[in-house]
Amino acid sequence: MTSVEEARAYEPPPPPPSPPKLASVWAQPKGWRQLTEVNNTFIGVLYVGTGLMFLVLGGILALMIRWHLAQPGGTLLTAEQYNQVFTLHGTTMMFLFAVPIMEASSVWLMPLQLGARDLPFPRVSAYGFWCYLFGGLMAYSSIFFWVAPDSGWFLYPPLSTEYSPGINNDFWLLGIGFIEISAIAQVVEVVVGIMKTRAVGMSLDRLPIYSWYVLVTALMIGFAFPPLILGDILMEIERAVDWPFFDAARGGDPILWQHLFWFFGHPEVYIIFLPAAGLVSTILPTFVQRPLVGYTWVVLAAVATGFLSFGLWVHHMFTTGLPHLSLSFFSAASMAVAIPSGIQVFCWIATIWTGRPILKVPFLYVLGFLFIFVAGGLTGVMVAAVPFDWQAHDSYFVVAHLHYVLIGGMVFPLFAALVYYLPLASGRMPNETLGRWGFWLTFIGFNVTFFPMHILGLKGMPRRVYDYPAEMGWNELNLIASLGAAMLAVGIVVFFTDLCWSWFRGPKAKRNPWNAGTLEWATALPSPDTGFRSIPEITGHYPIWDDPTLPEKIDRGRFYMPDSPHGDRETLRTGTVDARPEQILVLPKPTWLPLLAAVATTVCFGVAIFKLYWTSLAAGLVGLAFILIWMWRSEVRSPDEARDIGLGVRVPTYSVGPRSHAWWAMVLLVVMDSTAYGGLVFAYLFIWTVSESWPPAGIEATLDGGLALVTAALILASSLPAAFLGNADRHRRRHLIALLLAAMLALGIAGGWMSLALLWDSGLDPKRHAYTALVWMMVLFPLVHLGIGAVMAAFTLVKAWVDPPRYRWSHAARNTGLWWQWSVAQMLFSLAVIVFYPDLA
């Protein structure tokens, strides 16, 4: 018998009850207090549910579009309403459904798959989720008042600026911008979680394949979203206070927005696709009952896609008049990215080929994914060819292509995963008959809807039109597409009916009902709040297939941390490469703070849409206060410095510096932030390339080099005390820390003040020209960073001074130092660029 068959034959005995302390510390609060829960099992389910709600809301908008276009002369919507509906459809599907639900899936699933009790920053997950829910509802609600964004999901200026003076696009910029920030929060959570909170023995080469995909995706979000957030800020500033970054009449350039947007927008496709491919790579082996073929090759493909996909952004801009050779670079990269995609597809086919397929509903969705995604990938290679793209650009061919890639590449795997993981979340099995009906209706409905759009595009039908003349020959195909959309909708309704009915009424699932090999199926069903009774030690990629008795051993507390002796929520931190036990991480208990901070953040962004800036500022300060309370209650002191975690292993309960999860989180944040700053420098240089002279003709005012030098000297001096923070902390000299922070603050405030004086003194009016606006931004951007650093420094100063008995402050001190030095580096670079570059150029 193979180990897979042994696993199928083995039925673990019912799990014994968890020790009372362990069970009670992880138990969810009841009633209203349940909203204070920060554990991934609770937040993850809400998160996925919210994502599905937005799928339905975005889908309703899609049906409105297809209803309206079913025949020429559609009367369901006016032109203005149609613009809002198609814009909000794209925006909802991309920003409120696709990206968040993939993050949600990882928040829910990854701790179980990694063998952790929770991810390292549960409050960040909870805050990110609440921000997403409130921000998403805020952005979507605009359609109920017909003030939704109306310039396309990519918000191209000048349509979105000069020609859209209403508040419509502010809903996009502030509502979606705010959700992007919550996406960044999840990046920190997920990356540090994968790196630091794995089961013992789960070395990098044994990392579950889904985690590899999620790791790559999270890092991609970290690099792709910040430039878009920067673009959002620039556009909102242009709309609110008239700084002309994208206004061609005053030296700006709309193409700059397209660069910033598509630098995010193309990787976005892979940000959506890769975690879905990770789900496929996880589910597929279960339904062919054999390991994935080519694990290392698939990891290679995921990592390579992460990099290559950043070389694709201009392929959305082939018709903007960029130089020919530049287009060829991007065309080449667009074709190169087909190689890792092909590697994955061949590995999946090989896995099916060499296995024994079991045609259950999740596997049907996987097969549907393979069929549709390959078709979408092939049309992707077609539009990667510049000459073809020039013909197909802005036509329905592109609409067909993107839906084949996104629905095929993401929604089908997601549906597969929803059915597959239903027993793990609810303890009940899905209904096979309803599931099959749902699949076939969805699969056929999808193809009937979107395949005709290829032909419509080739016959010349442009995108984003709310009507078309009857004599163009597009009528039948549009009608077929609309009928297909109705069928697709019925399929999705059947799918959700199955999901909801089975969640409550489905037959009880037996343990590991699909006979999967991955670790998440080692828990009891539904997965308990504690996750694992004891944190296992694993060997191989499929721990249950490697050792069918593993679930029983975990249940009986044979591994690490089988109890919670101090009544704390805890998980194990392990080594990045080899996953040896390194530290007990004390995790936060349920708290209102993430929810309250998210409410305040929502008000802060929400009222800004209506230009109530003082109210916005007040709400922002309230949110900040909640976050500071949250930070005060971080770094819990454990009663013991080190503890026996079982199997004769003793690990510390606290660590600082590069070994700690907090250091990793801050470094990650700085790296992500650097791409936003990089985007700003790019914007400055881009405007230089499109200007005849630099500074542009007619701008006589100059920056005072002497004043800039004094500013730089003060800012640089402030980084010296910051550099010593870690060292002083190592010796627990809290008074020295307070002194260093005070010196840093004083020098920083003086330097910041001088940088403002430099701008005032220059006489550069930021409303006059894109150049002057960018000079201001080059200073203001690092200045805001220094301001954030100043808040962190003041907070750390107080915490170190008070030295609360229950909490430490070392992470706060070191992370403040890191952030401050990064902000100083930005400011020095900015000053060098704005003062010296005009002479160099």
Binding site: D205, F307, P323, L325, F330, V577
Partner: protein, 130 residues
């Protein structure tokens, strides 16, 4: 600072893509600036400055990639038959499998990005700059 070339450093897996990213950004910025600032007419060794520089950059990048591939191969060859040890409970054997994984991943990345570099560099010989 850990050595990024060390066999057990995960960064070694992504060195080739990082090199490719720098190369890609360089050739793109070069051509954009050459076209917008009008120095596209300059020559280098008798060739247009852009194609000549792109060819040089491509060759340098390829040389680095080949070196990275060689480094990965030298690490992969001694442990190429240790794939099954990924399931081993023996830490020493498991370490061999890990070393194999890291080396193979580095090797495959280098190979793929050699192709990607050729893809990006070749149009410089065929397509006009602006």
């Amino acid at each position: 600072m850990a050595n990024p070339l060390a066999a057990d450093n995960p960064i070694s897996i992504v060195l080739a893509p990082i090199v490719w990213s720098v190369y890609f950004l360089f050739v793109y910025v070069l051509n954009s600036v050459a076209c917008t600032k009008g120095f596209v007419g300059l020559t280098l060794f008798g060739f247009g400055i852009v194609p000549a520089t792109v060819v040089i950059a491509t060759l340098v990048t390829l040389a680095i990639m080949v070196w990275l591939a060689g480094l990965a191969w030298s690490r992969f060859a001694p442990v190429r038959d240790t794939d099954d040890h990924v399931h081993s409970a023996d830490p020493e054997l498991a370490r061999l499998a890990r070393r194999r994984f890291m080396a193979l991943a580095g090797l495959l990345q280098a190979g793929l990005h050699i192709l990607a570099t050729l893809y990006v560099g070749l149009p410089a010989l065929l397509v006009p700059e602006c």
